[in-house]
Symmetry: C2
Subunit: 430 residues, 2 copies
């Protein structure tokens, strides 16, 4: 059987075309297919319209070997993927009894009877196969069109789609075996994208092989190294590895992780290695630093918790910031940040305490303390506190995310015993 060299990913839903819902599935599927060596040539988004969707199936099935769709498999009248697939295949819809039983069982497992509306979810085009969905009521569909194009339709909710892809769709995909693709991603924090690019210089030329590109996302600048060609896998791995070494040399301590590893995973990992624990005292981030760290399963080994001291009263009451400090310097000051970090360290059993206090905006800024001014402090047992001032640009959510990430970067620098001026840092602020 021929392999699946090219693919298209289709997202289905009025809410997507109208811009009411953010599609995260396409990114995820494109990433999985790219890893497999299947070239994604198009992402398309269409509304809940059986005719348009059937036409899209017709156009794309002439162009690619593999078609993945997400969405439109729900129980309501605007879920039309089943209908469109049947129309494209020129088949009638039949009830899949096994699917129907699974849907009933899903509801029964939750102590409810299956609403009659959900029975449409068990329909499939006659030649198609239903794909089991352990995480929801919408079974997927798998079909092969007369040309041999493989079509997999999966539900829209990511926590239903992803396990279905891995369990039921992936085994059907036959990636090309004559092309070698090796990719590697290094993540940096602390330099801006221009700074990274100028350090990498001609490594980033369009003609370079392996190719090197950068993307920036709220402080994290990622460097992608990619080899695609016909040579042996070993040679490609070696070339990419060599390039990764060169990139590491040029970017030094700013490189904090590789691959899918996030800043927070790295922090939890380094804390765990050192058997250190962390507490937080958050003002303008309102819990974001704690929330981010606890996205990592097992964070409880190293993260004890902390305080959200959003009001001045709570800063005094919960972690002992002195009223005099607040009166003389205000909540957004080196002194307050220092007392927050030291107070949190003293009141917790942790080895480190990170404190954040700043003006996230849009209101609350003054000439002296403009929106985006954020003090971040790190107190650690037996060490001099590290208190820095930053001037972040952007709207409220960006200032907050930048603050939480910079706090993690400061902790990392301390734990690996090094130092670095971080992007946005105002070294002259006192």
């Amino acid at each position: 059987m021929p392999s699946h060299r090219t693919a298209a990913v289709i997202s289905i839903g009025d809410e997507l075309v109208l811009g009411q819902t953010l599609d995260t599935n396409t990114r995820w599927l494109a990433s999985r297919l790219t890893d497999l060596g299947v070239r994604v040539v198009e992402h398309a988004t269409v509304e809940d319209d059986a005719q348009r969707l059937a036409a899209l199936f017709a156009r794309l099935s002439a162009e690619v070997d593999l078609l993945l769709t997400t969405g439109g498999l729900g129980p309501t009248a605007d879920d039309l993927t089943r209908t469109a697939l049947a129309a494209f295949l020129n088949e009638r819809l039949v009830t899949d009894e096994a699917s129907l039983a699974e849907i009933r069982a899903w509801f029964e497992g939750r102590g409810r009877a299956m609403p009659e509306t959900n029975s449409v979810q068990a329909l499939r085009p006659e030649s198609a196969r239903s794909l089991t969905n352990p995480n929801g009521t919408a079974p997927g569909l798998l079909a092969t069109d007369p040309r041999g194009v493989l079509i997999a339709c999966m539900p829209g909710p990511p926590h239903e789609m992803k396990p279905m892809f891995e369990a039921s769709v992936l085994p059907e995909i036959r990636p090309p075996d004559d092309r070698t693709i090796v990719t590697r991603v290094l993540h940096t924090f602390g330099y801006g994208e221009s700074e990274v690019a100028s350090r990498l210089g001609e490594l980033m030329a369009r003609t370079a092989s392996p190719s090197v590109g950068t993307t920036a996302s709220t402080g994290v600048v990622s460097v992608r190294i990619r080899h695609e060609g016909e040579g042996s896998c070993e040679d490609a791995e070696l070339a990419v590895e060599r390039m990764a070494e060169t990139v590491r040399d040029k970017l030094g301590v700013a490189v904090f992780a590789e691959g899918s590893r996030t800043l927070e995973e790295m922090i939890v990992g380094v804390l765990r290695e050192r058997r250190d624990t962390l507490a937080v005292v958050e003002s303008c981030t309102g819990g974001m630093l704690g929330q981010t760290l606890t996205m990592v399963p097992g964070a409880s080994d190293v993260f004890v918790g902390g305080w959200i001291t959003y009001s001045n009263e709570q800063k005094t009451k919960l972690v002992g910031v002195s009223k005099e400090t607040l009166e003389a310097h205000g909540a957004v000051s080196r002194q307050c940040c220092h007392e927050m970090a030291a107070g949190g360290l003293e009141r917790s059993d942790a080895d480190h305490c990170l404190a954040i206090t700043g003006v996230a905006g849009p209101g609350g800024g003054t000439d002296e303390k403009p929106v985006g001014m954020v003090w971040i402090g790190l107190a650690s047992r037996g060490m001099k506190p590290d208190i820095r001032c930053f001037r972040f640009k952007g709207p409220r959510d960006i200032v907050r995310l930048w603050s939480a990430r910079t706090a993690m970067a400061m902790l990392r620098l301390r734990m690996i015993n090094t130092t670095m001026k971080l992007l946005g840092e105002d070294a002259d602020a006192r």
Copy 2:
């Protein structure tokens, strides 16, 4: 001049096609265009390749009146939107002196000299206009092709793209004035999507006008009402308003907001109206509830802060959960949740305190306390505490988000003096 009836949105970047970065711009632009009455017919995503991009400009400019692109305007060698637009227009690139001065000023405002690499960002096709970017170094581009299609190229970072769209692109868009589009979105919390659909019944038929559709996103089920036609604006408004009334009747207290208003904005709004204040005590959510509430500008009027009691020690130390309770019932129990909420209320000056403790997973589940089991408690001055057990499905991030949202929903129900069994609630748990 003819109006812009149809549009396509193009996202540019290897990182998007390969699935390394999530595109949020297309959703935002589609939403803005839909609001204006411009019909978005295609979303496309392409890699950083000048030839492919120029070809896409050629194909789409034959199909639509308005082309919006995001990305590929950075300073590095893989930013090729400028080159592609020039190739499509068959023009050479020239330096825009005003842009160059702005880019220099941007760096100088940050106490740095402009790296030489950034000067390419001032290039524009000869007939194009540069668009000012107050939030970054990449100017936008605005061009009209020989057919009269308006092409606007904007930078990829959302906090640069959005203000540029509003200030420099929007004024150039001429929406059709002969078609009436009225949309309305009602947001509900507490019912599942099937339940909402079965309550709405035939209102959701594909042939209904105005049309009614639903989308679900981690507990929030949104009902979209949309009229599109040739009648008068007043008639359309009236029809949509009448339908919204019917939907409200059928869904009752589950409807919590309209339009772009989020659950957290509603909560901050209702607290403010009542002059009430709120504190939080978070375990498995690790700060997410505080983070979510403080996404709302001005949350400091009503949110005092709270505690992240991630470890058992901190539950005892910070909010006074008794060791006996933890030993007898564990941290994920009605008793512990009750003591967290009551302890937080007692130790803060707030009128309400929300507490969350549960098993977010993936590890830590037992037969008795499986992953997804979450206790949420609400203590309010002078009222009986409301402590409920939920069994949420899905991975860690979903369980946590569902928990934070459900906590807000419980607070809302109390503040509007009503009650409702919420989705996932285990009314029998003790």
